[in-house]
């Protein structure tokens, strides 16, 4: 028994597969944050005056705010003056439109990451926007999508080409004053994806954004805005990696989703930022605000996330259920190992009548990590017959890690039904031995048990990514069983 436990506890060095960095010339702003830096970012992106003013307003608000301390996370003070807020891979053109204009080194990097920008590989049926440090480097399939009226481009491109749409929706779901990190992002956001699905259009392929932090000492502050008009449908996926570095890097992103009547948006994340080394050194600080609004009746927003990376994850993809009969879903697998800390969950804010929400959270903790689920189900007075079901399960590997559940329920309507179920379990000696007796070694046994545990969430990922995510879970667990 002792040996088995030791195996579980032992932390063996596992190389973070994406830990390399690319030697690309970058155009960077000096370290630090002030109004001049914001003016510089805005100028680099050739932004209109209103957007600069918007950024400055956010910055002035942010200066008056303090970092939130309520999460179950421990980390040193972040020195916001020690971060580079703008880093762009240098290219001949300010924004390469075609693949042959992209730096070959960059293409090599993307190949290494398994992202093909080659549009011939259309069999995968996924359109990709790639954001490296502060800029979007390439977006594929734009023309095919445009035929259906779908806009899929970098947000900086949307600023130029679709300013009215952008201005109408930017900051409407996550206001710039929403929270400390949202304000920071609003002041300095550099790139991200913009996606617009017109009325009645079903997006024919998965849309995907791939985020990569490359430059050291830089932060990544991307912003994604997705708008689905009446009856539109889109499935969207984001993936992220970063090089292995000794210092911590900050990632503070915002995702806003607007779903009009009968629209459906499915947003899936596979987050694999560098988690830090075995001693807890380095790793990404991931402070993200993601929120969608079911604005129209009968609309639906579904978040699915597989979180395996980052030293710190602070993230609560939420849904405002404003339209009657609208549906919000949150499916999450959060795996923490080594010294990782995750405080993640969701908010379901029921406003419309007959709104429904479903929360399925699976936390897996190993090593010396801490894994918390934090969720709020809020039912407004107006939300007649609101329904929520929450299921939060935690799985512990070894006895030096922690799993925590913080569910909050606020109901102001007595016709609402809110259900919460939670379980905590440990991978048992008996389960491991049973698998071993059938010929599976401890590592394969744990991977199998964890896969089974996370299955309900994995089943919600688009097929192409479910396999990848499953592999990622297994790889992330390597070494956690010896």
């Amino acid at each position: 028994m002792a040996d088995e436990m030791q195996l579980l506890e032992e932390r063996v060095n596992r190389e973070y597969e994406y830990g390399f960095s690319t030697d690309i010339e970058t155009d960077t702003a000096p370290k630090g944050l002030n109004e001049d830096i914001i003016r510089l970012i805005s100028r680099k992106k050739h932004e209109p005056e209103w957007l600069l003013e918007w950024r400055l307003k956010a910055f002035r608000h942010w200066e008056k705010m303090t970092m939130p301390k309520w999460a179950n996370l421990q980390y040193p003070e972040i020195n916001f003056q020690d971060i580079i807020y703008y880093a762009a891979p240098k290219t001949k053109k300010a924004k390469p439109g075609k693949l042959d204009e992209v730096d070959p080194e960059l293409l090599k990097t993307l190949d290494k990451l398994g992202i093909s920008l080659n549009e011939q590989k259309r069999l995968t049926g996924v359109a990709v926007d790639v954001v490296m440090d502060s800029v979007s480097v390439a977006t594929t399939f734009q023309e095919q999508l445009a035929e259906k009226g779908i806009i899929f481009c970098a947000i900086s491109e949307a600023v130029q080409k679709h300013p009215d749409l952008l201005r109408r929706y930017l900051g409407t779901v996550v206001p710039m004053t929403d929270n400390f990190f949202a304000a920071l992002n609003s002041a300095v956001f550099t790139d991200g994806s913009f996606c617009y699905i017109p009325k009645g259009v079903r997006c024919p392929m998965e849309l995907s954004t791939y985020f990569r932090i490359n430059k050291e000492n830089s932060g990544q502050f991307e912003r994604t805005l997705i708008i689905a008009e009446d009856g539109a449908y889109v499935s969207y996926l984001e993936g992220c990696t970063a090089p292995r570095r000794d210092e911590n890097q900050l990632h503070a992103a915002i995702v806003e989703i607007v779903a009009m009547g009968h629209a459906e948006v499915k947003y899936s994340t596979v987050q694999n930022w560098y988690p830090g080394d075995d001693a807890g050194k380095g790793g990404i600080y991931n402070f993200v605000t993601k929120r969608g609004i079911c604005k129209g009746n009968n609309s639906k927003i579904s978040w699915t996330q597989v979180e395996t990376g980052s030293a710190i994850t602070w993230k609560y993809p939420s849904v405002i259920l404003k339209g009657d009969n609208s549906i919000g879903e949150f499916y999450s697998v959060a795996l923490t190992t080594k010294f990782q800390q995750a405080d993640t969950g969701t908010k379901m804010h029921h406003i419309g009548k007959n709104t429904r929400s479903r929360i399925v959270s699976k936390g897996i903790s190993a090593g010396k990590s801490q894994n918390s689920y934090r969720g709020l189900v809020k039912v407004a007075k107006t939300a007649e017959n609101a329904r929520n079901f929450s299921q939060c399960d935690s799985l512990l590997l070894g006895d030096k890690c922690g799993a925590h559940t913080f569910p909050y329920i606020e109901s102001k309507n007595n016709t609402a039904v809110v259900e919460h179920e939670a379980t905590t379990s440990k991978i048992g000696e008996d389960q491991l031995f049973y698998c071993e007796q059938r010929g599976l070694d401890a590592e394969k046994a744990v991977a199998l048990i964890v896969t089974g545990f996370a299955k309900e969430v994995m089943n919600n990922l688009p097929m192409e990514f479910a396999v990848e995510a499953q592999k990622l879970l297994a790889v992330s667990l390597e070494g956690s069983v010896g």
Binding site: M1, D3, Y434, E436, Q437, R438, G439, L440, I449
Partner: protein
């Protein structure tokens, strides 16, 4: 194929097996009976390689290899199968996926390619039919919500798919009704052949009505104290273990 010599084993410092000897030849069926606490399940655990049990003395040779040096998964892949007394549940992992992973690990160990989907499904269907196992059980999470009888049948089903050389049935008959017992026994008998030896650990004679052991051993206080043919099981059923205790007393005082 299996040679156990003077094995001593303990758990948490407590000596359970105290010099056990057992020789099993290919194709033989050996029944091990004995009162509670005599060391029956310890023997199964030691052979399968459960780490809590410490072997302090003696040797076990399995198919010419030193069994005690092998990890539990290596023992399994060498052809040792333990049908658990209390099969565990693994939520979210279907029986099909589980057995597929196990089978392919074993094949890899033998230098074989993974079985293709069609052959695998055929194998599953065939073995499930043998154990009268409902096909819907195979797509459900392993043992989750299975009845006691279904769990035991599932063990024998897994044995049938993995095709071991040595099977240890650890009180497989406990908690089975008479129909389930018959089905389990039929499964075991069908799969028992000249290359497949079986150790049946049981409290009762009733399973032995179906399995026809070549040898019956009585385990007491960590040792095999009496061996005989299947008639020994009948005698035990009739007289209990006391007559053996008395015999032992007599031989000690004689």
């Amino acid at each position: 194929m299996l040679s156990i010599k003077n094995i001593h084993a303990s758990i948490d410092g407590k000596q359970i097996l105290k010099g056990l000897n057992l020789e099993i030849k290919p194709g033989e069926v050996h029944a091990i009976m004995g009162p509670n606490g005599s060391g029956k399940s310890t023997l199964a655990s030691v052979l399968a390689g459960r780490e809590e049990y410490e072997v302090t003395e003696g040797s076990v040779e399995f198919e010419g290899k030193n069994l005690l040096e092998l990890s539990p998964e290596e023992r399994a892949k060498e052809g040792l199968f333990l049908a658990f007394q209390y099969p565990v549940e693994i939520p979210g992992v279907s029986t099909t996926n589980f057995i597929k992973a196990a089978l392919n690990e074993k094949r890899k160990y033998q230098g074989l390619e993974p079985l293709d989907a069609a052959s695998f499904l055929k194998l599953l269907r065939e073995k499930a039919a043998l154990l009268e196992l409902d096909k819907s059980l195979l797509s459900r999470s392993l043992n989750e919500g299975f009845s006691g009888g279904e769990k035991k049948r599932n063990e024998i089903f897994q044995m049938a798919v993995l095709d071991p050389k040595l099977t240890i049935l650890d009180e497989t008959d406990s908690g089975l009704d008479i129909d389930a017992l018959r089905i389990v026994a039929k499964g075991v008998n069908t799969l028992h052949n000249a290359d497949h030896s079986i150790i049946v650990i049981t409290h009762y004679q009733r399973l032995l009505n179906y399995l026809q052991p070549d040898f019956v051993h009585v385990l007491m206080n960590g040792r095999i104290v009496k061996s005989g043919g299947k008639e020994l099981a009948l005698e035990l059923e009739e007289k209990g273990y006391d007559f053996i205790k008395e015999e032992l007393q007599e031989s000690l005082t004689a």
